[in-house]
Amino acid sequence: MRIPWEATSLKNFRIVVLVVVSLFLLGLPLFTGQFISYLMLTFFAYAITVVGFNLLFGYTGLLSFGHALFMAVGAYTAAFLTSRFSVLYMEVILIVSVIVASILAALIGTICVRYIKIYFAMLTLAFGMLFYTFLLKFYYLTGGDEGMRVLRPYLLGFNFSEVPKMQFLTGSYYLYTFVILAILMFVMWKIISSPFGLCLKAIRDNPEKAEYLGVSVRKYRWYAFVISGAYAAIGGALLAPAIGQVDPGLTYWTHSGTLVFMTLLGGFENFFGPLIGGIVYIFLQDKIMSLTQYWRFIFGGILAFIVIAAPGGIAGVISSLAKRRKS
């Protein structure tokens, strides 16, 4: 009866770690400066995006190089609704973002999932850049390179316009975003532990065999594409009020590259890997940018190191260290 005991104890250990980390993140603004909390807030928005991105990359085996498009869709939806239509309810913004991004992802996905590997990556990149050009050129609609302002939203119907900006962002908005991240993480965990998740992993490992076992490869890739697009849109919509201003750079290919970077850095083979990558990326970028203007150069070096020396990312290194210690 040793194995079941070990399995349950491992599960309990993971739950304890998860609860401790969650409580720590939740209480962080109480014992740290506003700036750290603000960086954490942006991390929460990116975390939602990369968790969705990794459903496509880590679990289905499709590397999208234009995924920032959907983040931009969410962010611009927030900008449009708040500053053009005076819709300030965050819940409405999130729902509309999901609807718009899902429709767009459904259309783009129909074309993209017909291809794999580099062709898929290039096609998604092309759509991302197409959207970039649209945002840039239709300035009367989108504000062009100046972008659009995002007004402070109501959270659960409450108006926070009296609260100072940073206090709002690192207070109620921080909690709001964290709760959404927690819910979406739980939903993603359900998805990858479901029969659907099993089929995605089968497609990633061997699409031909999956097809022979009756798995409709193209259809499942499409579902994954739409789900990850919707996640990115929620991430983008939550990021928008934090940055206060959206611009076409959100869908530029380097921003898509950032999402890929975060996921590789943390480790795409692990459920929490992209989150680790996201948090390390955001804090490292802040640190290195304050030291040198050549931060991209250093980040390039880090990426090269990860790909060559630790393809499993930080999560991969941690789990192999844990295994070594066990044996």
Binding site: I191, S194, P195, L198, D205, N206, E211
Partner: protein
């Protein structure tokens, strides 16, 4: 196998498949009936695997049609075929390397039960799926290895798992591409016994296999189709095939009968 009932279950009509100049299939027609265990034999390059690939819709023939019962299935693709009731296994090991044995079989069962679109239900708590996967694993002697990663299995078990996953689809017809290749001679009969008893249990109506080992072919088949250079050389019961000099020479005892074979060619031409 069940007794042959004579009802047609799979038929090929005048199949042609060319790869550039090379003709892999040059007009192949046959009909498989319910209850038959059919072996397709032939020397290397005779077109056996191409035939399986055309029958299972992976390749579209240049000419000709394939029917499953009354339905035309030419080139409709593996996924739809598996849903209609036609499954296959592969000559080369074809697995999901990062899956455990049980997870591997669950893919087939999830797909057969139409549960693939259950986005939020827990897979491991689904008694129907896990139970059936375990049942299939045990049927194929993989029960004790259910939690082993498939990439860590010995070659013979990988092969068995590939075959088992096709059986887990509960097809009416199963096509096995060299199910015993790369397996030690002593294990071959064990595999065949397992296949036959599993297909009885699951209710598979016909088995079609490509096989090189003539002992296996002659001891298990109800019928043998011999291919040579993309054409059917002979089609009949093992007893008939055994007496057919030409087939024996071309396919069964190639080198030894070279002389007889050339004399037959001279006689014909």
């Amino acid at each position: 196998m069940n007794e042959a009932t004579g009802r047609m279950i799979l038929s090929a009509q005048d199949l042609h498949k060319h790869y550039g100049e090379f003709c892999a299939l040059g007009g192949v027609s046959f009909q498989i009936n319910e209850g038959e265990f059919v072996s397709i034999i032939g020397p290397n390059g005779a077109g056996k695997t191409t035939l399986i690939n055309v029958l299972t819709g992976l390749l579209k023939p240049n000419q000709g049609k394939v029917f499953f019962k009354d339905m035309e299935i030419t080139g409709i693709g593996p996924e739809r075929l598996s849903k209609l009731g036609l499954a296959r296994s592969f000559q080369l090991v074809n697995i999901f390397p990062n899956f455990t044995v049980l997870e591997f079989l669950m893919v087939a069962i999830v797909s057969r039960l139409g549960k693939g679109k259950n986005f939020f239900s827990s897979l491991l708590r689904d008694q129907e799926v896990t139970g059936e996967a375990l049942e299939v694993a045990e049927l194929f002697g993989l029960g004790e290895k259910k939690d082993v990663l498939t990439k860590n299995l010995p070659q013979g078990d990988k092969k068995m798992l590939d075959v088992a996953s096709a059986f887990a689809l509960h097809p009416e017809v199963i096509l096995l591409d060299e199910p015993t290749s790369g397996v030690s001679t002593s294990d071959k009969n064990k595999i065949m016994e397992t296949l036959v008893s599993a297909s009885k249990k699951i209710g598979i109506k016909s088995i079609i296999q490509v096989e090189h080992d003539m002992d296996i072919v002659f001891s298990y088949s109800d019928r043998i189709i011999a291919l040579h250079q993309g054409k059917i050389l002979a089609d009949g019961a093992p007893e008939t095939i055994e007496k057919d000099e030409e087939v024996v020479c071309t396919v069964v005892g190639q080198k030894e009968c070279f002389k007889i074979f050339s004399s037959i060619l001279n006689r014909e031409g």
